[in-house]
């Protein structure tokens, strides 16, 4: 399974850096004066290409905000964000929408699919919107891998929660984006269905060379990642490579304890 590892859509790998996305001195603040709340406080981060990165942190730590900013869903107060070599901070809505459509994939915690479209229509939606013909062979392989071949004509309401999330994963992969962002993609699933989806994400990194960034607060989910970033109070406070669930959990308890004593 090495032949299809590289993502070829942007033409060759020659000029490509090892960093898929990076944030430089990113600040995100809400309100002003007395009521000013800083969600991201001068964050610098590099997302390595072809890696599975998890972002963790307690509620209100800014992990979701960071992901939204990286994905071009939210604007930053100051600082720069690059997707590959493209600076996305300061892009107009039209360009940003195009960028999300062509270069980014999304998996949300819930409500990932349009109820009016069936599974395959949902999967090809980003390409349809762009007016691109999906690559049949690739599509077939993605569908095959997520194990949905028998359910392509089903509407989302006819699918289980796990199946719905798998459709969402397939959608994210089908357009061969440079990077996939997941916002607690297994948050609404039971542990078995969750494991299925996570296993699939892991495989897509290993076998397809996909870059994935996932926000989660579940140590088990984080253990599927290559690297875990810890956020607290809008800052990256720690990171961990090749984590196990127990290590992550320990680290979290540690933060919690520190949080309470400080």
């Amino acid at each position: 399974m090495t032949s299809a590892v590289t993502i070829t859509r942007h033409g060759g790998t020659g000029g490509r850096t090892a960093v898929a996305a990076r944030a430089r001195q990113v600040v995100k603040a809400y309100g002003s004066g007395e009521t000013r709340v800083v969600a991201l406080d001068h964050v610098d981060v590099d997302i390595a290409r072809g890696q599975f990165t998890a972002i963790m942190g307690p509620s209100g730590s800014g992990k979701s905000t960071l992901m939204h900013c990286l994905a071009g869903l939210d604007t930053v107060t100051s600082g720069q964000i690059y997707l590959d070599e493209t600076e996305i901070t300061g892009l107009k809505d039209k360009k940003l929408t195009q960028l999300r459509r062509d270069r980014i994939g999304f998996i949300f915690q819930a409500f990932n699919l349009l109820p009016t479209l069936n599974a395959i229509e949902n999967i090809t939606l980003p390409m349809d919107i762009a007016g691109r013909k999906p690559d049949r062979e690739w599509l077939g392989r993605v569908v095959e891998t997520v194990g949905l071949a028998q359910r392509l004509k089903h509407r989302p309401t006819q699918l289980s929660g796990g199946q719905q999330q798998r459709v969402a994963v397939a959608r994210a992969l089908a357009a061969r984006p440079e990077i996939i962002f997941g916002d607690e993609p297994t948050g609404n699933l039971d542990s078995r269905a969750g494991a299925e989806v996570l296993g699939f994400l892991r495989r897509s990194v290993d076998e397809l060379g996909q870059t994935i960034v996932m926000v989660t607060h579940d140590p088990v989910a984080a253990s599927y990642a290559d690297r875990v970033l810890y956020l607290a109070d809008g800052r990256i406070v720690d990171e961990m490579y090749q984590p196990t669930a127990d290590q992550v959990l320990d680290r979290m308890k540690d933060f919690d304890a520190r949080g309470r004593t400080s």
Binding site: Q98, F106, P115, I129
Partner: protein, 878 residues
């Protein structure tokens, strides 16, 4: 109490979502209130006018109302000697004779009509003391002598008349040419009548044809004598007088004396009431017509309100479930929705009542612009008007929200626990399909019966039933039809728009009940438009075909749109035109025709010269129509002949009104299968002239003329010149006549379309409402689509396309239904001569395409708002 509080909170939390429903309620209520205020104000204006113009007691001839155009060209009159007799009555302070006639046309030097263009009369009379009650001379002086005239200030203003200008007053006795010596202003609002005054002798000669006569005697009561008492005294004095005359007249004077002794004595109140009843007839047409359209708007508004509350209930399912879970009863939930509806009704109606008064004022200004003066000083808002407006608005709103409220009551407490997201309203069910099919089927059957009915009256009732049943049937079945129709429309229209079109189609289809109700609202208005345009267009086409077939005359000459009789001077002028083969005079004489078996019919006998048979070719069932114009002969229509069992050769008894009774031989029976002169009875002009005294003989209704071979154009021009001095006279050749007919129908249709616009506006609000609420409901979907790369432009297009499809769905149903109604009506009216079905495709297609634009327009704001939606808020998991 807590129910009230939650309702209030909900209502104000969702005030934006309620806004369009409130506007719909407001519009309908405003239309009702506006209509009532407007007509009441008109009533007040006329009341004031009539109170000011009537004297304490008025004596007039019993024959006709003084304020009516008479057939003979002269109003009924009284001998001048009566003034003295009445003045001597106990309790009478004074009496004076007055002349007043509406059988006049007043023109300026350029032969331009000074009369009102809105149907208000032109009145000529003598200047009396009684007129000082309602008018005052504001410049110049009262007229003296045959060459002086005084005119009312409104007419003078409108036409730029000033002292010294010449006015020509056209009467049956000839023209009165006089210079303006005075201008008098009304002290009350004069809605539009043009009034001219002469001195008494000139008025008598010119308007009544003789001095020594008056149209009425105005009696003023002495102080302390009531109008009623004075009336009693006058009546008894006149009765005594009549008895004396009868005795004295025995043997010598006969009929004439008897006629003159019948008087009408009225108090001021009675005169005003009699005048009012004429005006009321006209005002009631306006009032009930407009209220009818307000009713249609209400009906359309009901759909909007149902949709609003259905959507609010659906969106609030979890909330309602929670309330149920913590112990609210079904009734409480149900009531809380109804309370919200009541609040909406109260608010909408309250604004509507205010807006209605504004609407009435606007309408008055509009009427002023077209020549009907109404003053805001007379603005009349009766206490019942706001009461009716409020009641209607609230009751309709609450009734419309009843179904959604009941559905809210049925939400189970478990709903609170279920996953977020809005459940569909449910698929259109089997029961609905069956009920809809039964209703539509029954409607279609009734329409079929109406189309094949052989009696118009009975048929129109069935037609009405058919229309109502099929409409309700379509409304019920609409959600089911939505699926198929939307798919077909999308296949044709939306495929071109790729995935955006596909999503628009799916969105329109996902909630058939909602799409059905939204489309149905538009359907109602458009069905009426389609139906009326089919009937109107068939009317014109049928009449044109009939004209081509039956009319042999080249020209028809009438006065004042056919409502007024022709002046003898005009007849003479026409008869003098060169190049005419013949001119046929024609009058309508009121008469009662009795068959040998006693069957009788009162109506107009058409008396004409024999050439009328060539001018209007009528098919006969038996006999020869030309023979009916022979001496003492006549014809009847086939329906009457059948009813009375008469055949050619029988003798009919004809009692001419104001004349003698004649025995006429039935010479022909005309076929009633026609649109022209249906059921008419024809006889010869000379026969009528022999039986009716000259002064009671009606003037000619119309002249028909045929040009000599090859001189049609010259004759047409010559005719126009000949009648140029009287602007009310119209010369029409067949082309003009057809055009006039078409214009008349077109005008009527435009007016109806204008009034239907209200219903259509409410329907458009309904589309906006549905889209706006759908957009709110689909916030998360929209967020998701935007996140994965749907551009704002694509999103807006998607919503616009959905809107267009919904609008076209409504248009298709409405136009189809309306054309069905129209075609049925035409089949039924074929009995009345509406032989040809003509579907005005340009109008129908225009309306259909227009509906697409309506859809685009309705989507403007919802699409804009969806585009502006913040992606993050939209996908927030909260």
């Amino acid at each position: 109490m807590s129910v009230m509080k939650t309702s209030m909170r909900n209502f104000f939390a969702h005030k934006g979502r309620m806004a369009l429903s409130a506007i719909a309620v407001m519009l309908s209520v405003a239309f009702v209130t506006g209509t009532l205020v407007f007509t009441d104000t008109m009533g007040t204006t006329f009341d004031k006018l009539f109170a000011a113009t009537s004297s304490d007691v008025t004596v007039s001839a019993a024959g006709g109302e003084p304020d009516e155009v008479s057939r003979t060209g002269r109003p009924d009159s009284l001998p001048a000697s009566l003034v003295k007799e009445v003045a001597a009555v106990e309790g009478a302070k004074s009496a004076e004779g007055a002349v007043s006639s509406m059988d006049v046309t007043v023109v300026d030097r350029d032969n331009k009509n000074m009369g009102s263009s809105t149907g208000a009369p032109t009145i000529a009379g003598n200047w009396t003391k009684n007129d000082l009650r309602s008018m005052e001379i504001t410049s110049g002086h009262a007229p003296r002598g045959p060459t002086q005239v005084m005119v009312d200030a409104d007419t003078a203003d409108k036409h730029g008349l000033k002292l010294g200008d010449e006015l020509r007053t056209i009467t049956v006795s000839g023209d009165i040419t006089a210079r303006i010596v005075g201008i008098a202003s009304f002290k009350v609002t004069n809605p539009g009548a043009a009034v001219v005054f002469f001195d008494t002798a000139t008025a008598q000669r010119g308007l009544l044809g003789a001095t020594g006569r008056f149209t009425q005697v105005n009696v003023t009561a002495e102080a302390g004598v009531s109008d009623t008492r004075l009336k009693r005294n006058v009546s008894s004095a006149l009765a005594t007088l009549t008895a004396q005359t009868e005795q004295g007249a025995k043997g010598e004077q006969g009929a004439k004396g008897v006629q003159e002794t019948a008087y009408k004595v009225r108090t001021q109140q009675e005169t005003a009431d009699a005048n009012r009843s004429d005006v009321d007839e006209f005002m009631n047409v306006i009032k009930y017509g407009m209220l009818g359209f307000a009713g249609i708007a209400f009906l359309v508004g009901v759909f909007l309100i149902i949709n609003t509350f259905s959507m609010l209930v659906a969106q609030r399912t979890r909330e309602i479930g929670l309330m149920r879970a913590v112990g609210s009863s079904r009734g409480q939930v149900n009531r809380s929705v109804l309370v919200e509806a009541t609040l909406l009704g109260v608010l909408g109606s309250l604004i509507g009542v205010g807006a209605g008064v504004g609407l009435a004022v606007g309408l008055m200004k509009l009427m002023s612009a077209v020549g009907m003066e109404l003053s805001t000083r007379d603005l009349t808002v009766r206490w019942t008007t706001p009461a009716i407006g409020m009641l209607l608005g609230i009751v309709v709103t609450v009734l419309a929200s009843y179904l959604p409220a009941r559905r809210a009551g049925k939400v189970s407490p478990m709903a609170a626990l279920r996953d977020a997201g809005t459940p569909a309203d449910g698929k259109a069910g089997l029961v609905r399909g069956l009920v809809g099919l039964v209703l539509t089927g029954a409607g279609a059957f009734a329409l079929y019966l109406a189309a094949t009915a052989d009696q118009a009256k009975q048929g129109s009732l069935i037609l009405g039933v058919g229309i109502v049943l099929s409409l309700i049937g379509f409304v019920v079945i609409g959600p089911l039809l939505a699926g198929g129709v939307v798919r077909v429309l999308s296949a044709v229209l939306l495929r071109a728009f790729g995935p955006v079109g596909r999503m628009a189609e799916r969105n329109a289809l996902r909630n058939p009940r909602r799409t059905g109700a939204t489309g149905a609202a538009l359907m109602i208005g458009l069905a009426l438009v389609a139906c009326l345009s089919v009937v109107g267009s068939s009317m014109v086409t049928s009449a044109t075909a009939e004209l081509d077939k039956s009319v042999g005359a080249d020209f028809i000459i009438t006065a004042g749109n056919g409502g007024k009789p022709l002046n003898p001077a005009t007849v003479k002028a026409v008869e003098g035109v060169e190049g005419l083969g013949h001119v046929t005079r024609m009058k309508e004489t009121p008469a009662k025709v009795t068959a040998p078996d006693g069957t009788s019919e009162s109506g107009q006998l058409l008396a004409a010269e024999a050439t009328y048979a060539e001018d209007l070719r009528r098919e006969t069932v038996s006999g020869d129509l030309a023979a009916a114009y022979g001496a003492d002969a006549m014809s009847v229509g086939s329906e009457f002949a059948e009813k009375a069992g008469v055949k050619v050769g029988d003798t009919l008894t004809v009692a001419f009104e104001g004349g003698r009774t004649a025995k006429l031989r039935l010479a022909a029976i005309t076929s009633d299968d026609t649109g022209l002169d249906k059921g008419a009875m024809y006889t010869n002009l000379t026969t009528v002239e022999r039986h009716v005294p000259a002064e009671r003989l009606p003037l000619d209704t119309a002249l028909l003329a045929k040009a000599d071979e090859g001189s049609k154009d010259q004759a047409y021009a010559a005719l126009k010149t000949a009648v140029a001095k009287d602007p009310t006279v119209k010369v029409m050749d067949q082309t003009d006549y057809k055009q006039a007919l078409q214009d008349q129908v077109g005008q009527l249709l435009n007016m109806v379309y204008g009034l239907l616009a209200l219903a259509i506006v409410v329907a458009i609000l309904g589309v906006v409402n549905t889209l706006a609420l759908s957009v709110v409901e689909r916030t998360r979907e929209i967020g998701l689509m935007r996140a994965i790369g749907l551009s704002r432009r694509q999103l807006r297009r998607m919503i616009r396309l959905e809107s267009v499809v919904i609008a076209l769905f409504g248009a298709l149903l409405g136009l189809g239904l309306g054309m069905g109604w129209g075609a049925t009506a035409q089949r039924l009216l074929a009995l009345e001569g509406l032989e040809v079905l003509d579907i005005p495709w340009p109008t129908i297609i225009g309306v259909f395409i227009g509906s697409a634009f309506v859809g685009l327009f309705a989507a403007l704001v919802p699409a804009f708002r969806a585009g502006r939606m913040n992606v993050l808020n939209a996908i927030a998991t909260e």
